[in-house]
Symmetry: C2
Subunit: 357 residues, 2 copies
């Protein structure tokens, strides 16, 4: 494919731990309900799933935050549960509730029926959206593709939707570990194929969201979450040399495992706000780039406070390459877009000052 | 006061890091809705608050789990929010929802009105319950008194109830740190007076529940949560020598701060399931006892799995004194009391085997 040359490579340079003129910034859920233009497109689409499954609309909302803010990366607009949906679980959204599956995985027979979906057939709408977005970006910034981690997908697949305490999947992990490993193996195969297809379609970086690894005890985290992310990092075709497509492993509650995550071969780790970036950097010893990690709730504070907290986060990481600024988790629907602008601009202004000292 | 001599001192010995014949065990929320006899008393009381505010009924439900299981400690049945209620915030329970305050703290003027409540006057029902329970225990096991941590109480006081993201109190921490510190100072004074009054009334150990410290970034945790628990540990009169009443600092998500918590002078730390007990022990170097830390969700697994997980937790702590077995958080209403029995018995049986090796 013949895409326009990249004009802003701060994000990719930071992921490769190369010097930058200012710290790149993007924001998890930057295309979302806090933006009135997103709400307008969503209303036009009729439903969230119609929005996510129509490449032209997914492209439209992906680009919206870039027209407002000086963001250094775009991220594919899609749902985290497209893969299990394509595996036949029947994703739907009940009014006022989160995502749910019509056919959750509860028995060995359910697990036995799971297979890696055909990417072009079952997930073609995502792959098409990636190529369309990459083309429409015209090289402004790089495009990030993504997937949920195998463990996080499995949480929804087994629980049948969101969960307060993850009792079904934890009981499965304890009572029927073999069945859960079988589920995770096939899901990992699917995630690897999905990310590889996004890369082939034009994604310039890839992120795995391990939203729920942090609910596990260390022993179960290593057995059921980390192990499968390590397999993704080892087996995913990310290209080589100049073609290398960096892999970011983001995890809520992953602070205790940064050394182990850095050893997977992933190029970068995304961290939440429960760890000091400077400490995370010291512990990973420059083997990976770090992405994060301002507490999203900071966006409920006032503009001056946001600027101060941005500066504190940048200074916590310190001088030198390898930092991508982000929130520690996603932006919320009731947050003020004008304060997102304050944050994005503060990242560039303060980091440029640091680098020019 | 003249109480019966203590017959089972495993729990207090473990908190003092003295040898025991078997690891003592109690369970957070052991007096609660998972027990049919609790539900019967609760129905008789008419409301949760009537139950918590009537010493005879609070005593009755405190003793119920001891009649069923071979637990090594009793814990005062009370609500975590009695102190802010006594400070005038107006605690109530909306049907099907958690606790709420009629008059949450939102402004500097609200903070200025806060004062340490009179223990005998405003919290006499708790103090009376402590003495009644201690008497009715007749020395079977020690009685634990407790309070919420200043930060955790402040979360409810500012949010006005439970919260998904703690946006109000975090915004206050960032925008108006002085007001929040003033709130925390007076609440800490109240917590110290409350725990001292429970000790004077007969409590033989004291636990501070820092349920929500783990939602804070490290910098804010140290400034707004840890600092006030350290003041409690330093200033609370716990007696001396044989009269010493051990203090346990429990915190969800406190794994990153164990060294600092061990330096407060508290006798023991309660930890959730997100840290390996052996690692916690190595990091705190025998300066404190450790309490925990089986994932409560293990109680949704089958009996054999529970026994195996109990053994793994005990072996993770390893040989030698200083371990009190507990869940990493409370037991849930839909858990099976018969599996709680399996857990309690497994702790004693397996640990006695360890000690006799």
């Amino acid at each position: 494919m013949n895409f326009a040359p990249l004009k802003n490579d701060r994000f990719l340079r930071a992921l490769r731990r190369q010097p930058v003129d200012a710290t790149p910034v993007w924001i998890m859920r930057q295309a979302g309900r806090y933006l009135p233009e997103y709400r307008a497109t969503r209303a036009r689409a009729g439903s969230f799933l119609a929005l996510a499954k129509t490449p032209e609309l997914a492209c439209e909302v992906t680009l919206q935050p870039l027209d407002r803010f000086e963001l250094d990366a775009a991220i594919l607009f899609s749902d985290i549960l497209t893969v299990p949906d394509a595996m036949g679980l029947g994703l739907y959204f009940a009014e006022g509730e989160g995502p749910k599956f019509e056919r959750p995985i509860r028995t060995q027979a359910d697990v036995d029926r799971l297979a890696v979906p055909d990417m072009a057939q079952e997930l073609g709408y995502v792959i098409d959206a990636v190529t369309l977005i990459r083309r429409e970006l015209q090289g402004r910034v790089p495009l990030i593709g993504f997937s949920g981690s195998p463990w996080t997908l499995a949480c929804y697949m087994v629980e049948g939707g969101g969960s307060e305490n993850f009792s079904r999947i934890k009981a499965m992990a304890l009572n029927e570990p073999k069945a859960l490993h079988q589920l995770l193996e096939v899901t990992t195969d699917a995630v690897i194929a999905y990310l590889a297809a996004q890369r082939a379609a034009g994604a310039q970086a890839l992120q795995v969201f391990d939203t729920w690894g942090g609910v596990l005890s260390p022993r179960l985290y290593r057995e059921f979450s980390l192990r499968y992310m390590a397999r993704i990092a080892a087996e995913l075709d990310r290209g080589q040399g100049a073609e290398n497509t960096p892999l970011i492993l983001f995890g809520k509650g992953n602070a205790a495992y940064l050394e182990e995550l850095a050893s997977t071969g992933a190029e970068a780790l995304g961290v939440d706000w429960l760890v000091d970036l400077g400490e995370a950097r010291a512990r990973t010893g420059g083997r990976v780039a770090l992405q994060g990690n301002l507490d999203p709730i900071t966006l409920y504070a006032d503009a001056d406070t946001i600027r101060r907290e941005v500066a504190t986060t940048l200074e916590s990481y310190g001088h030198g390459p390898g930092h991508v600024f982000n929130l520690g988790h996603g932006v919320s629907p009731d947050m003020n877009p004008e304060l997102v602008r304050v944050l994005v601009d503060a990242v560039h202004e303060h980091s440029a000052r640091i680098y020019s000292i």
